[in-house]
């Protein structure tokens, strides 16, 4: 590289027009940064699809969440998927019929008179595809609820603990240490068992076991923000403690919280599905992916589709939040900004 071509820093500063400092705000900047990453875009797209499915499940689903088809259609439980590609409103394309005969020769065979079930029927002769769609509501709703509750409580604990310090801080943080000493899933199982199985208790349990994570994140931010000059200035001016906490410390602690919470949703989805899998989630009629998978677990070798589709959905849901969370972290963590 030719060295003389690189101007000195002062020269460059003189030559370059002063950069336009438009105030765009941290969050808009962060979002732009985030979606510059392809993986985050993929995550957001998957999330968008899941959200769409969750919002419009009743319109998209061909059957009801709990609709048993054994009498209305005369199909046996665990009927294989049946896919009709040549729908009458699409003109007959040769590719489609070839594809259909391929599907037919690969176990998706069904006569045109048979009703279409994209993912087959489950053990209670319910349409799996419809239940998968409805499941998006449960999975998204429950995991977001669990994380929101944990974030609010954890942030409150972290704020108070970090700002007051001393004995209160020590006591609270040791309590958090004890909570963290138990494997999350184990503690969650114990909590749900103590309160009785059910979706609400599962959400509560997943929430409680993650509180320490948020408390710690916020506390460490509070400890550094507390010592900043603008907080000292507030103190000197006699601003009240609650106001300093809510107007100074909290806004300056939000960035790591958002990142951890987004990644936390992914963990919450996994843990909720695991709780359902061991039979501690919602009732068997609720279209919950973990529960659907658990109910048909023993049919793995005979009807793998009943196990694989819910499993795939859980995975997609987790993946979406992991990708978005990673993207946000890269965007919000200045240490990694290139």
């Amino acid at each position: 590289m030719a060295i003389e071509e690189i101007p000195l820093a002062e020269e460059r500063a003189a030559e370059a027009p002063p950069p336009e400092r438009r105030q765009r705000g941290l969050w808009r900047d962060a979002l732009r940064q985030t979606f510059r990453k392809r993986s985050a875009v993929v995550g957001a797209a998957v999330f968008g699809v899941l959200l769409f499915i969750a919002l419009f499940a009743p319109l998209l689903a061909p059957y009801g969440e709990r609709e048993v088809l054994i009498e209305s259609e005369g199909l046996a439980p665990r009927t294989e998927p049946c896919i009709h590609l040549s729908v009458n409103w699409i003109p007959d394309v040769p590719v489609l019929s070839t594809l259909e005969s391929f599907l037919e020769s690969n176990g998706f065979s069904c006569s045109p008179s048979e009703p279409q079930h994209l993912m087959g029927l489950d053990g209670n002769a319910r349409d799996v595809f419809s239940r998968i769609l409805y499941g998006a509501r449960v999975s998204l709703g429950a995991s977001v609820a669990a994380v929101s509750f944990a974030v609010v409580l954890g942030a409150a604990i972290g704020l108070i603990s970090g700002f007051i310090g001393g004995r209160v801080d020590n006591g609270m943080m040791r309590t958090m240490d004890v909570l963290l000493a138990f494997p999350a899933l184990l503690l969650a199982i114990a909590i749900v068992t103590a309160r009785g199985p059910g979706l609400f208790n599962a959400v509560l349990a997943v929430s409680v076991v993650t509180i320490p994570v948020y408390a710690r994140v916020i506390r460490s931010r509070v400890l550094s923000v507390r010592e900043q000059d603008f907080v000292s200035a507030d103190r000197a001016l006699g601003v009240s403690r609650p106001r300093i906490l809510s107007h100074r410390v909290l806004p300056n602690s939000l960035t790591p919280l958002v990142v951890v919470a987004t990644l936390g949703i992914a963990t919450a989805v996994l843990e909720l599905a695991a709780l359902s899998f061991v039979g501690l989630g919602g009732d068997p009629d609720t279209a919950e992916w973990g529960r659907m998978l658990a109910l048909e677990r023993n049919q793995l070798f005979t009807s793998p589709h009943l196990v694989l589709y819910p499993g795939l959905m859980i995975m997609l849901n987790v993946l979406a939040f992991n990708l978005i969370g990673d993207g946000l972290r890269d965007a919000l963590d200045p240490r990694l900004n290139k």
């Binding site: 138990f182 184990l186 599905a273 695991a274 995975m315």
Partner: protein, 353 residues
């Protein structure tokens, strides 16, 4: 150095005490009457009164707690009402299964995860890098039980009859009952020997039975891989990003400027420093391993700590819940301690601060 370790040990004491309190509370919070659960149809009023008196369920809760703490320090974790043996014996029976499973999973996670991370990090933004990131993202997102079921489907059903076929469940092929090594060696029986003998792989080596070793190994592969995937993906990601960070530092540029080959730069200069955060991640992932063990053991039908705990919680087996949770939590704290101490050996900067 010693001062640091001592301070770290002292700081663990309140946490351990908190764990004792928490396990006690968890044991009491599980709804249902212990007498009902233990005696079932024989739970008459008199029988229950006798039972509660015998196990101290009549005493005030504080007395019960101090009784519990005292028992724990005497090595008495109570008796399982369902398995009709002491919790300590049950631990000797079940803990080895989980230890073997977790150790195998951790081994896979580290042995595969670290080199993958190094490979991806040293070729930043190459195709290998992108493929590793995509794989790692999928890896952290797949639930243990889904992966376990997929592995069972592929290796036990689809590959049935091929050399790649692997058993879907259990620790050993039914009918294979290895002699414990202490009997083969003509040693007297004690708890430690029994514990070691329950680690199938170790026992098979000690009694020099290659066929049993292979059988145990074949049964171990699928659950271990299922359990290893999430930590493996996390370790690979951590190694990669940490290596990328370190490769951008000045001293690495110096090493390159000296004309060292890239392999030497990475292996001798960059890797050592980049492995520091990886050690933390490995320590932390041991916690997820125990949680995952509950699911893995359920799917692969292994009678380890996770499955026993789950059965005990659902079956209201108080002392088993308390004892096993206690052991798991204490184990976790000890592992964190070890991680911290290992860290100080690797990174002198930590000792100073």
């Amino acid at each position: 150095m010693l001062r640091f370790i001592a301070r770290r040990l002292v700081s663990a004491i309140p946490v351990l005490f908190g764990i004792l309190l928490a396990t006690f509370v968890i044991g009491r919070l599980i709804p249902g009457d212990p007498c009902q659960a233990a005696l079932q149809e024989r739970a008459t009023a008199e029988a229950c009164a006798e039972f509660n008196a015998a196990y101290g369920f009549d005493d005030p809760i504080v007395t019960q707690f101090f009784g519990y703490v005292s028992d724990v320090f005497h090595g008495d974790l109570g008796n399982s009402v369902q398995e009709r043996q002491s919790v300590t014996d049950l631990l000797i029976d079940r803990l080895p299964v989980t230890l073997q499973l977790s150790a195998a999973a951790l081994l896979i996670a580290v042995v595969v995860g670290v080199p993958l991370g190094v490979l991806a990090g040293s070729r930043h933004n190459s195709k290998t890098d992108v493929a590793t990131i995509v794989g790692a993202n999928l890896g952290v997102s797949i639930p243990v039980f889904v992966l376990g079921l997929i592995l069972q489907y592929v290796f036990a059903l689809q590959l049935d009859g091929t050399p790649l076929e692997l058993p879907a469940s259990g620790q050993l092929t039914p009918g294979v009952i290895p002699d414990p090594f202490y009997e083969v060696w003509g040693l007297s029986h004690n708890s430690l020997f029994e514990f070691i003998a329950n680690i199938d792989l170790v026992n098979a080596v000690l009694i020099w039975r290659w066929d049993i070793f292979v059988d145990a190994l074949q049964h171990l592969i699928l659950p271990a891989v299922a359990l290893a995937t999430i930590p493996m993906a996390i370790i690979a990601r951590m190694t990669r990003s940490s290596l990328v960070d370190v490769l951008g530092l000045d001293y690495v540029r110096t090493a390159r400027a000296k004309g060292l080959r890239e392999r030497v730069v990475i292996a001798r200069h960059a890797l050592r420093n980049s492995l520091l955060p990886v050690v933390t991640v490995i320590g932390l992932s041991l916690g997820t391993l125990v949680g995952g063990a509950i699911l893995t053991e359920t799917i692969f039908n292994l009678t380890g700590v996770g499955k026993t705990l789950f059965d005990a919680i659902t079956g209201r087996d108080y002392f088993v819940v308390q004892g096993f949770t206690l052991v798991v939590a204490v184990g976790f704290v000890v592992i964190n301690l070890i991680t911290d101490i290992v860290y100080t050996f690797l990174d002198p900067k930590v000792r100073v601060s």
